[in-house]
Symmetry: none
Subunit: 342 residues, 2 copies
DNA sequence: TATTCTCGAGACGTATTATGTCCCGGTTAG
DNA sequence: CTAACCGGGACATAATACGTCTCGAGAATA
């Protein structure tokens, strides 16, 4: 017996097209609501008139509300969208991609969201939503969650929502100062995430540049030492993966470091570690906090990174053999699979 | 979690309508093929041009063939239609109706086909097809199937198809002469059914009017006695349900009988028994064969009857408490549920 | 407070599609 | 032989989809 969708393909070949169109409208709306017709049409790359037809239809169906501030999903719209997600993933073949990528990378789980965050920036938010969704399916009560910095993790924080079974969950930054801008620092993201989740957080204040003596005395400081222990005990880690060169530049690393990275052909970066194509560590930012080997003791590691330009970095990092869940986007996933098949 | 169809109802109600239209075309075509555009359009009560659009589409999809004799379903069309049946039942809410009716009548299973056989005659054929389909899901090898007469059972015979697991199945008429026209007599229907099923049948020749002595000597006749025993051993019974008065008139019953039926407020009739609104037997045609109490020993009893005008009769008959499967149509089902809710 | 921006809604001409209505030549049954 | 029915072609018209522009209202900003 064929599936319902297969039957419908025969009887209504354009069904999927329409369904996909409406689904995309709802999904984009969820990300940017409240939003007006023109901007939304622009985001979806369709003309205003077409969007208008869809939107009036969806409004009649009670899936969204129109007001002077713009359009917003109704309760029912949110609900429908949620239920629609797995269906559309299957339709667009994303679950297929997920399977293949899982096999290629040798990791236990891959989640792929549609789009390419290099092309359309809001895809990062979708990755964020997916990561949060995955996180919440885990038993989080009284657990410590360590998070890193980066723009992708900022998206994860953006999409964080409170949940009943996050009672006592504590968010901490994975590692100390890594030279990022404030909004992308682990501390900032950690705080934001905890606030949005309606739960607690602890911060780790470590200056970027530090002499050896100052460093030694700092880690003996009782306040710091206590947090460090909590961080080391983290059972859940959520982190991003960056392109080595980009990250080094963004962190305003010294010429020496840049040189080292270039010489050793580093391609990937994750929480202060730089990796070459084979997954070997070629450089490490000197700071306190979670170390690479600590990951092995974690119960759940989620790596979030997308955009086709990150494909190489993702692949290199996962060659370390870390059993991590990968949350990525269609662009990166396809690039990864293509690159591998060459 | 709602089903995919429920989601689609919200997201693409218009497409489901189209799907329904195309489904109806295919279904009607199956019943009357080969048939031309104009007649088919007439049957479906849509204009020729609309049908034409659908038909050309369906032809392009390879679901039907057009020839000079008319249109016919292809193999693929037949297959699709079959797989589509449960889906469309869900869409049109028929499976919901089935559940409700099952509860109201207190019987184990109800099958409803779309339409109303009082309004559109070919719905009887659909009921026939449904009954045959249900019958074939039962283990029929070497079993005896007793059938009654009536126009509805004639439709069942029409739709009978051979099947691999009907080896050794024997068709017999449930009861002797009941005064029907030849084409609606149990004997005729029994023979037709067996022939279409590519299996055996035995007939029971009993004249309509018979003196008591002749009757007694007849049932002692070896040939008759043998068949009678087979009939009594029938494990499967398929029968119709009629309106009491209509049946009495059609059978040209005597004024005496008509009077009795009227006086006792008989509303339903089934294989020669007349029932009042409470399900009590108020009259019984004197003939040999299966008796009402024999039904209790049957493994499978299927009652087939449709059309809103038969609602009262169906309800009355099923009040006897017989554990029967009911095959009916939308018209009767709705009338039954409405009547009950008043 | 003044100004600018974005919002939904209306309007309207045009391109596209759906539909109603005929007609035609061929095939078949009576 | 003819009447009925078949698919297919044709065409005017109605309905719909779409691109484009405009307007007044509220929100944000300065």
């Amino acid at each position: 017996m064929r599936s319902l969708l297969a039957l419908q393909q025969k009887l209504l070949p354009d069904l999927l097209e329409v369904m996909n169109k409406r689904y995309r409208v709802l999904r984009q709306l969820r990300l940017t609501q409240p939003i007006g017709r023109r901007s939304l049409a622009n985001s979806l790359d369709i003309t205003e008139r077409v969007l208008r037809s869809e939107v009036t239809f969806l409004k009649d169906q009670g899936l969204l509300d129109m007001s002077i501030q713009g359009m917003q999903l109704t309760e029912e719209g949110e609900q429908l969208l949620m239920e629609l997600e797995p269906v559309m993933n299957e339709v667009s073949g994303l679950d297929n991609l997920e399977e293949r990528l899982k096999d290629k990378l040798g990791i236990p789980e891959v989640l792929i969201v549609p789009g390419d965050s290099d092309v359309t920036p809001w895809v990062k938010k979708e990755m964020g939503r997916a990561a949060v969704g995955r996180l919440k399916r885990f038993q989080l009560e009284s657990k410590v969650v360590a998070v890193t910095g980066g723009t992708t993790l900022a998206s994860v924080a953006d999409m964080m929502v409170p949940s009943l079974d996050m009672d006592g969950t504590l968010f901490v930054p994975a590692r100390g100062g890594l030279g990022e801008q404030v909004e992308n620092q682990a501390n900032t993201i950690c705080a934001k995430m905890a606030r949005k989740a309606h739960t607690d957080y602890r911060l780790l204040h470590v200056p970027d540049q530090l002499s050896e003596e100052a460093y030694q005395s700092l880690i003996e400081e009782p306040g710091v030492k206590e947090i460090l222990e909590i961080i080391k005990s983290a059972s859940i880690v959520v982190h991003g993966i960056g392109d080595a060169k980009t990250m080094a530049v963004r962190r305003k690393s010294t010429g020496q470091v840049l040189e080292k990275i270039k010489e050793n052909h580093a391609v990937a970066e994750a929480f202060g570690y730089y990796f070459n194509q084979s997954g070997d560590v070629v450089h490490k930012v000197k700071t306190i906090g979670l170390q690479l080997e600590d990951l092995e003791r974690s119960e759940l590691v989620i790596a979030v990174a997308g955009g086709h330009s990150k494909a190489k970095a993702i692949e290199a990092y996962l060659k370390t053999g870390i059993q991590s869940i990968l949350v990525t986007d269609e662009g990166a996933a396809k690039a990864l699979l293509e690159g591998n098949s060459l």
